[in-house]
Subunit: 166 residues, 2 copies
DNA sequence: TTCCCTGCAAAAGTTTTGCACTACT
DNA sequence: AGTAGTGCAAAACTTTTGCAGGGAA
């Protein structure tokens, strides 16, 4: 099954492509800064653009390395401060998979969950409406109000399974 | 709904009580140590007993404070080393909720998931067979093999909602 | 008697913060 | 000009490790 396809069950959607371009996200970022009377700076633009262009599930360390390539003067503190700012602007999510460090992901239109390959580290995003519905039923059974939820599957991806067989 | 009860959907089981006593767990611990030719020590016993008696979702910091009460001489390093040992003996799980620190939980008979109250920090365990089944279907759709999975719901528990209303 | 275990302190890894300086608006 | 932003280094926080001494088998 390829990205975007639907499975035989009609429920699981895999690695849906983002509908928003990096350029659009940058414009939103600038608008949010203006709303808050915060400043647009070269560093913030460099960091945000690299983040939006590189895509999902990047760590602060990886982002730092990438930003250094186009602006070697940027410090780690600014990376973290800009990540926090983007989070406060509702432009990124901070994820904590089972590693020491956080990973960051641009906010998209839809909720999705993650599969993480324990062999190669590959992360697959998927949506499954049935699971979303079940989570709401559980919340009702628990008598609680949900603000967010997370589901993570860990295991071996098809590539790594093929490799192991080879 | 009270702990152990089943919901109207017949699926969600909440805060099932552990069927294994702390004393039984200690015996298992000693057996596992013997198998591995590792030593039984006063510190290990103190830490393991406090852990098994205090129950689930304790942090290393909390465990350290509790163990200090009955054995003030114990160091942080021994806490962490014993937690690692208990994990290697398959006697505890290490969980990483959305906090800086890990939380530890005695291994039980059944898989369950967690709801975490963002107001008071309360953690509710629940089982839902339908969600378990859906996870396996998603894994099949993704073409991956699962080793483990995690589902966490975050929100406000009923107590905190009542309090807010009051 | 052997060598595993322990405590202490230091190190490691990630993220945050204090401070003087820089640069947006 | 005024204030928010930046880089650097140091601190904070959780967890791990080196080492010398102590204790279980």
């Amino acid at each position: 099954m390829r990205p975007g396809e639907t499975s035989s069950t009609g429920h699981t959607v895999i690695d849906r492509k983002p509908a928003i371009s990096a350029e659009e996200r940058m414009q939103t970022f600038h608008a949010r800064l203006k709303e808050r009377a915060l400043k647009s700076t070269g560093q913030r633009d460099d960091i945000a653009r690299v983040f939006f262009e590189l895509g999902h599930h990047i760590s602060a360390e990886e982002l730092y390395a990438e930003v250094k390539k186009i602006n070697p003067h940027v410090g780690y503190a600014t990376i973290y401060r800009t990540l926090r700012l983007l989070k406060e602007c509702s432009l990124l999510y901070e994820r904590h998979f089972d590693e020491g460090q956080a990973r960051y992901e641009a906010v998209g239109e839809r909720h999705h969950d993650h599969f993480i390959c324990e062999k190669c580290g590959r992360i697959i995003e998927f949506e499954n409406a049935a699971i979303e519905r079940m989570q709401n039923i559980v919340a009702r059974d628990l008598g609680v109000t949900l603000t967010r939820h997370k589901m993570e599957l860990y295991g071996t991806c098809s590539d790594c399974m093929a490799q192991r067989g080879a």
